[in-house]
Symmetry: C2
Subunit: 331 residues, 2 copies
Amino acid sequence: MSKIISVIQYGLGPIGCAVALHIIEREGLELVGAVDIDPKKVGRDVGEVIGLNKQIGFSVAEKIISALKPNNADVALHTTSSYFSLFKDQIIEILEHGLDIVSTSEELTFPWLSHAAEASEIDAAAKKAGKTVLGTGINPGFLMDSLPLNLTAICQRVDHIEVTRMINASTRRGPFQAKIGSGITVEQFNKKISSGQMGHIGLSESISMVFDTLGKKLEKYESDVQPVVADQTIKTDFFEVQPGRVKGLKQTARGYSEKGEFMSLQFIAALGLEDDLDTVRIKGKPDLEVKLKGTHGDIATVAILVNAVRNVQKANPGLVTMRDLPIVTCR
Amino acid sequence: MSKIISVIQYGLGPIGCAVALHIIEREGLELVGAVDIDPKKVGRDVGEVIGLNKQIGFSVAEKIISALKPNNADVALHTTSSYFSLFKDQIIEILEHGLDIVSTSEELTFPWLSHAAEASEIDAAAKKAGKTVLGTGINPGFLMDSLPLNLTAICQRVDHIEVTRMINASTRRGPFQAKIGSGITVEQFNKKISSGQMGHIGLSESISMVFDTLGKKLEKYESDVQPVVADQTIKTDFFEVQPGRVKGLKQTARGYSEKGEFMSLQFIAALGLEDDLDTVRIKGKPDLEVKLKGTHGDIATVAILVNAVRNVQKANPGLVTMRDLPIVTCR
């Protein structure tokens, strides 16, 4: 048997709590501490905060240094912010305490094009610490980047990649339904979009990873978010959306090489859609069409984060991305 | 620009010729030599033998040492036999001449369970030479092993994996149609199966790779091949199959852990099927269903072989498998 890997959960929002619960049920991993800045969580027993229905014997720490006492740890699973401006110092601090890091921070999944300076800083800190940092998730991290890249393995030529993700938000958490604009007006929606308060993060990271890995220069990047408007009343456990109100969002992104459009992504999350469906279409030699059913966002994000722990433990020090590592598996 | 990788094509059967043609059209790779033992090919211009419709300026060598004069090379693409008993000495010899190797040899794709001694011997020779050896292909190598493994990245728990590959052989080469028994009687089919002259190689390698990677012990392995019998006359460019005669094969394999069946593979190749379709079904948390259209066996095999060249050039010395490398892409 390989040694038990001890894990700190850093961030106890909904995903962080789900990650912590999953670490507890996974063989080979042990949850040894948890960090969150929320005063309502700090000091309380971690089992209670994450919804374990029993005490776990240690409490939520406000700082990583406190979480590491009395036990040291191998890896931090980091689930706080999407943005470098908010998470960078956290990553550096965790590295200074000598932990590998697997993070859900979207901007970290492929920062080499749009955040090269910050990426280099984290890479240097990781190398200095002899530790590895990975940003991953279902999207970005898998469905729209590393999986399509893996599918190109069986192509002699790739002319275009299209990925469409359709999420029926009716089956998801209330906060997710809120996040996609359920129940607000189109005017409110557009205001939130223009102020940067809404929209899925990560499409540009996925396009950057694919372009860079396939050796293409990203000459132009376009993105757009539109509301999906209800044409009849839709009820979920959390919302009742009247006709004319927003029931979700449709986000698109396109990446162009010097030869024209090479990649297009569509992210559609709305109430009352049919089943979730993800489609990857590759034009080239051969043409490929791959349809995925069942890729539940929250379950999958927790899974890939925890599954990546072994890869990060074995990887060379530095900031790595999903395209740098051997395939992540549910071992 | 990264340096041009010079390639020897070792084996000039139908796949080897297709690989050589593809190397010639790929940026970043250069075909510098070719090897085959067929006296009808040795000494003839490689361009002519592979169907390039023009001379290439060097001829087919019978031995790797001759192919390496006057140019040295970086990598050999090896497409000869499926079986260790036939290819092992070839691999060792190529390593002794200091080349990395990407091979289509099915038994090489994951030899650690059923051919551990031979695998260790090749691994040692590769490490001694400071070179890397990889066995890959569409199947084994991708569809039934590394791709399903990659899909488990988004699973918190995997209870069962099923992969079905359906190939409409009507659209394939004549030799492929012959290989699956087109036109023979059921009696002839069964005789060929029992004498080991027919059947797809690699299902056990795929199951071994998945079990080993997911940390499961392969307690029992079962396999079976049945004829697919025509119920009406089927015509292709190469065969006319009467009702009652064989039009293809259906091959199954199952791997069991101590908890029961964990993986089942079905490989169906027959004339007159509908479109090719590959399906991966994972039962666990979540349940996943992934359907692939367009994975043409010959095109895909050539592609993954050539696409893997960069990975093998960057890998540590030794015998590696698809689960050990960063994702192979069509760069």
